[in-house]
Amino acid sequence: MLAALHRLPTWLRFALYASVGVLVLAIAESFESGGVGRLTADTASRAMLKWCIPILLAGLGGLFSERASIVNIGLEGMMILGTWFGAWAALEFSPWMGLVFGVLGGALGGLIHAVATVSFGVDHVISGVAINIMAPGVTTFLSSEVFGNRTQSPDVPGLGEVDVPVLAGGTFFGAETPDILGSIADQGVFFVSDLASFARGLVSGIAIFSLIALALVPLSGWFLWKTRAGLQLRSAGEYPLAGESLGVNVIRRMYLGVVVSGALAGLGGAFIAMELTGFYQNGQTGGRGFIGLAALIFGNWRPLGILAAAFLFGYPFGVSLRDLDGQSTHALLLVVSFCLAVVSLWAATARRLVDAVMALVFAVVMFAWYVQTDVAPDWLPNAMPYVIVLLVLVFAAQRLRAPAFDGQIYRRGAT
């Protein structure tokens, strides 16, 4: 059956996984007393699509850096630079300039990281941590100098939003179109309406900025796997001496990877300031750079995997946003418990008994938590990405393949 799945085109397979996910969510929510369909509501999926973008961009940033062998734990700091520079330029010039300056601010952070790690052979983690410490200091200073307020900027304009015509009732050259998904969602049929409503969230009220970010997923894949610079960059991450012995300028490729990495993180930062909150604020990245790294690992250092991880990690945020009473997040506990049970079963059939027992124990604990409480704490969505990655590392570590030279320090001519 699995083999049959893998013969499907990628997009269809992913759509299938997503529908199964929606089914599980719909079932879980039906157990919740007074369940109001928040888990599968279009508001939830729309919020997910928005909240996943910074994680996605940070993850893609990590991809470029680590594929060139440089661990970039400084993504968080580069993102912070992106929030300030993005907000400032959007205020000063225009939202589009905000996007450009977010990229430049992050790229500056990337450049510092590249100089330290590639040229001077500083340990990658140390340099990254230094950038994470430095960036908030820089932005606080700039903020108080430019905005006259150490912690916050005035409101920042975004790039705007669009609805897709026909599917979600967007306008088509000024003409009204039907809202097909919306009308199916209103029928209230179990699962079908859930699916429609969930899908509607993905095609209505899309930030233009999000579309740009999503386009970067195939673009990254194309660049890394189909172009000359991409191949050379990946070879630097696997075995830099190979490139060096063939006359590839390995140092330049590593610089490219790390600077692009910073630029993507900065873009993510600009997104947070311009689209998520609508202003710059100290510490508003909230550790999304690190969650991006988690997405990178979960996605097995591949663009599509990172996208899937970003959706998965962004979803709890999306739900919790509208979930003031904590009930829907509570239902997520049941979903997690169920997923763990599936993992346990899968491990058991693969005769990995230790894994199976561990997963089962976790599943039971989650279930007990679900049964014993009525609402979930508000820190849960924030903690979930880390928990998921820990679980992935525990249960699927053998399937993960980091670039072979990742994290090592390269010295030219060190044969």
Partner: protein, 516 residues
């Protein structure tokens, strides 16, 4: 006539070392020219200079009669020179094609790689020279010999007419060496000039037309292969006769030091990588394990040391069942290991020698006193090792990376042997060290054997294996498939057992028949 390569008075200095001292080299067009010399004679440095990886301090280089001054390998490649490095320069997680085209990718618009035409060109090249390879295979799935073929294709793909091969046979079994030599002759017939670095003299005599001998950074002679014997070359190389690994009369006793019964180790896919191995090592005996790398030797060592999970079977050390023991328990009970990669597993390169000496024995005297490391005693003991094993170092507080490979190895061997082991596992004990250090390491192994030490020797150097061992076992796909008497087996026969050729033709495991 115009020479393909002419090097005149090349000199290269490194801090404290004169690597090349007015070296001269003349390579004729279309010949196979070998450069021989001991480790440290300056062969590799000379080739790196020729390939543009390092600039010479003095001297002139001429390629096809024109003076050149390469700033990088790219310029050497443009001049038609290609290099096959001693350690294959391949990225495991990329395909053969990606590895081959790296750095000279044919592109379409927007920097897109033209994979179709690249694959086409690769197939043409590999077909023309009889080097078969599938372009879309991941390199990690290839065997050692195939990887080397990829390296050669890499060079030919760039249109190189002059090939430099740096110790290409170091990791090959005799049959693969023959295949390589066949390929090289084919290349020569098609007009390539080939420069081979090697210090295995019979192979050099087999393949080369002309031989240049280096000793301590100087050219000491250029001879025609047809005019010399291995003995002549050896004398030129070291200025005296080569040491040999031969042992004297048998010291094997009846006391069993280590015995393995039905030991099986599984890999991540649950396939046996050590498959039902029975093995007995007596005191005073050296048991040699022959095998192409990656046939389970590493896992067998892991099973003995306690780092691999033993699925079924038992291990006994001096009659005690140690199957369930931890690594530390085994270490303390006297299981010693000289690991195959001294930099990865044997040493902490940035730590001082005395700390390195304590590694693996950090719970025992003289290195430790209860919970604490006894620094004074550790230093004193390291001094003892330094004297007894001839480790050349100013003191025992220098970092391990400051020592040459040979001296690092002597330190590791000293560390293990002075800890009074019951069984010592030696993995490639003389790999990559020079002839002098090699002779000294062999002597220490012989001495320990005479003192009744039980030793397991794993080596890719078949001469060493045959010379030192009392018994040779051949490991193939995780099984011990043949037991041979080193007194009447040649490296060639051993090679055919290692590749499975001999076992398939005669299944009885006797040493008389190799598949020819």
């Amino acid at each position: 006539m115009v020479l393909a390569i002419e090097l005149i008075d090349i000199t290269k200095r490194f801090p404290g070392v004169l690597a090349n001292d007015r070296v001269n080299l003349r390579v004729e067009l279309g010949e196979i020219h070998a450069i021989v010399g001991e480790n440290g004679a300056g062969k590799s440095t000379l080739m790196k200079i020729l390939y543009g990886m390092q600039p010479p301090d003095e001297g002139k280089m001429l390629v096809n009669g024109t003076e050149v001054d390469f700033k990088s390998p790219t310029e050497a490649i443009e001049a038609g020179i290609g290099m096959v490095h001693q350690h294959v320069m391949l990225a495991d997680n990329l395909t053969v094609l990606e590895n081959v085209i790296l750095g000279s990718e044919p592109t379409k618009s927007f920097g897109r790689i033209d994979f179709e035409s690249a694959a086409q060109h690769l197939r043409e090249v590999s077909h023309a020279y009889g080097l078969d390879i599938e372009p879309n295979d991941l390199v990690e799935t290839l065997e050692v010999g195939e990887r080397q073929r990829v390296e050669i294709i890499k060079v030919l793909f760039r249109g190189a007419k002059i090939l430099i091969l740096d110790e290409p046979t170091a990791v090959l079994v005799p049959q693969e060496v023959e295949q390589l030599h066949h390929n090289l002759r084919e290349l020569k017939a098609q007009g390539s000039t080939i420069l081979v670095i090697n210090h295995k003299l019979p192979e050099v005599l087999d393949i080369a037309d002309t031989i240049t001998v280096l000793r301590q950074g100087r050219t000491v002679g250029e001879v025609k292969a047809s005019d010399v014997t291995a003995g002549d070359l050896a004398e030129l190389m070291v200025g005296s006769e080569l040491p040999s690994p031969e042992t004297t009369e048998s010291t094997v006793t009846d006391d069993v030091a280590l015995s393995l019964r039905g030991v099986t180790v599984l890999n991540e896919e649950d396939r046996p990588v050590v498959d039902d191995v029975d093995l007995v090592i007596h005191r005073g005996e050296i048991v040699g394990i022959a095998g192409v790398e990656g046939n389970g030797q590493g896992e067998l060592i892991g099973a003995i040391m306690g780092t691999e999970h033993v699925e079924t079977g038992t291990l006994e050390l001096m009659g005690q069942d140690i199957t369930k023991w931890s690594v530390r328990q085994r270490r303390e009970a006297g299981v010693g290991l000289v690991p195959q990669d001294r930099h990865e597993e044997g040493l902490l390169l940035t730590a001082p020698l005395w700390e390195n000496a304590a590694l693996g024995h950090q719970t025992q005297r003289p290195y430790a006193k209860g919970w604490w490391i006894d620094r004074a005693a550790s230093r004193a003991h390291t001094q003892t090792i330094r004297k007894r094993f001839g480790v050349k170092t100013p003191n025992v507080d220098v970092a391990a990376h400051a020592l040459s490979g040979g001296n690092q190895q002597k330190l590791i061997i000293g560390r293990e042997m002075t800890a009074d082991p019951k069984i010592l596992v030696l993995a490639h004990p003389t790999r990559g060290i020079d002839v002098g250090a090699q002779a000294s390491v062999w002597q220490k192994i012989r001495d320990a054997r005479a003192d009744g030490l039980a030793t397991m020797l794993i080596s890719a150097d078949l001469e060493e294996l045959i010379g030192l061992s009392d018994t040779i076992l051949v490991m193939l796909r995780g099984k011990l498939v043949a037991k041979l008497d080193p007194a009447n087996v040649t490296p060639r026969q051993l090679g055919s057992y290692m590749t499975g050729a001999a076992i398939e033709t005669d299944g009885n495991g006797s040493a008389d028949g190799g598949a020819e």
